[in-house]
């Protein structure tokens, strides 16, 4: 069986649910207790991307920053994929979305990136549709770490892109 390892990094403001998304993906659990990530936390999960082909995702959960430029650059070195997470209910976490995404795509032009609006269980689908322009950039996924909606799909889609 073919097996590769890929490093992916989750970025975004404080409290947008980066750690919860990873916990839901890796351990299938969710807790509403908020624990701030300090520095970095690393988790791993194997994903099947094709029959007889697995990818080992080494997921780096970085502490949240209001300004993406303050993220420790050495943590981002050699990354194979990025996931940028924002909270659909907190405008402060997506008001600079376009700038942050521009920064990432300029700095790491060849690295695949997925933009994720998390906590989608707290709003209705109609609300997301009607306010699609509000985020400045079209997100790739609207997820819910609480209910697990689109979480597996997010990581699996990125994993498949990384082995293309």
């Amino acid at each position: 069986m073919k097996k590769a390892s890929k490093k992916i990094i989750l970025l975004g403001h404080f409290g947008v649910g980066k750690s919860s998304l990873i916990r839901q993906f890796v351990e299938n659990t969710f807790t509403s207790d908020y624990k701030v990530t300090i520095g970095v936390h690393i988790l791993k999960k194997e994903v099947e991307v094709a029959p007889d082909e697995n990818v080992s995702l080494i997921i780096w959960d970085l502490e949240g920053y209001d300004d993406i430029k303050k993220t420790r650059a050495s943590y981002l070195l050699g990354t194979h994929g990025f996931i940028y997470v924002f909270d659909v209910t907190r405008p402060a976490t997506f008001e600079n979305l376009k700038n942050d995404i521009d920064y990432l795509t300029n700095q790491y032009a060849k690295t695949p990136l997925k933009i994720v609006g998390n906590k989608a269980d707290l709003v209705t689908k109609t609300y997301l549709k009607e306010n699609a322009n509000m985020f400045g950039v079209q997100p790739n996924f609207f997820t819910s770490a609480k209910t697990g909606t689109k979480v597996d799909e997010l990581f699996t889609t990125l994993a498949k892109e990384l082995v293309k």
Binding site: S56, I58, G78
Partner: protein, 278 residues
């Protein structure tokens, strides 16, 4: 039109193409023959001249091309500093380390000379064991030190991404991919925190365990050691690491292309065959 005319016309119609084709092949063969004969004749005349010029050229290389080669090398080194450092690091490191180690040995010998007359209970015990066992006292001392140090795990990690390139462990431990990532994060954090890009984190200590970290340009090697970690042990570990990188890893341009099992086997070879001397 007579019968003969008709026959001639038919002949023409049937055979003109073939004849033209046969003629063209004939002329091509002739041209080839000429080329071959000409070349043979030419080479008989020209070869000795070329050989002579070549000999002269070889003799003149140091004088004529020397400065150009030196300049090209200097430029190449300037442009590919990382690769050059990667290739030279183990050799230079080893040379410098050997020299310093020799100097320290000399110093140790002089200190030992001065301490020879000191009487401690342990030294008397060792002296007795040495007398009755017929083993040199220094060897007993070394073996006492060796007993308490052991290599538990070796990880070869890509410096930037923290991805595991290969590993060797005596017993299965916790997830090595995650350990590699966390070690890299800790290393980056410490190195960033002191704002010293040229300095590397070299040792992590926790009670009975030590993680010796040997940094290279594009990767680093982390060795988890249980028990005593002293200068002699560090020296030996570094020797094994330099041998391993020099004789094995440096043979590859892209480390990610080496299969993990191959690295594991090599690490096992280098670390377990040297275990007795550790």
């Amino acid at each position: 039109m007579t019968e003969a005319d008709k026959l001639a016309l038919l002949k023409d119609l049937l055979l003109t193409d073939e004849r033209a084709y046969a003629e063209s092949i004939h002329s091509k063969i002739k041209a080839l023959e000429e080329v071959i004969n000409e070349q043979k004749r030419l080479s008989q005349k020209v070869d000795p001249i070329i050989d002579e010029r070549l000999d002269e050229f070889i003799e003149e290389i140091p004088e004529t091309l020397g400065p150009t080669i030196t300049e090209a090398l200097a430029e190449q080194i300037k442009n590919s500093k990382d690769q050059v450092v990667e290739a030279l690091y183990p050799i230079m490191g080893k040379m410098i380390k050997k020299y310093i180690s020799q100097e320290i040995n000399l110093l140790t010998e002089r200190i030992n000379q001065q301490l020879e007359d000191s009487f401690s209970a342990n030294s008397w015990k060792r002296k007795f064991r040495s007398w009755f066992g017929g083993v040199k006292e220094e060897e007993l001392l070394l073996s006492e030190l060796a007993k308490i140090s052991k290599v538990e795990q070796v990880l070869v990690i890509e410096k930037n991404s923290g991805m595991l390139i290969g590993q060797y462990a005596k017993a299965e431990t916790i997830d090595k991919d995650m350990v590699s990532g966390m070690l890299t994060a800790i290393k980056s954090f410490v190195e960033d925190a002191f704002n010293e890009q040229s300095q590397n984190l070299e040792l992590i200590e926790y009670e009975l365990y030590h993680i010796h970290i040997q940094s290279f340009v594009s990767f680093y090697i982390a060795v988890a050691i249980s028990g005593e970690y002293n200068l002699t042990f560090k020296n030996k570990i570094q020797d094994i690491i330099f041998n391993f990188t020099d004789n094995f890893l440096n043979l590859f341009d892209d480390l990610s292309q080496i299969k993990e099992e191959v690295i594991t086997n090599e690490l096992e070879f280098y670390f377990s065959t040297n275990e007795k001397s550790l």
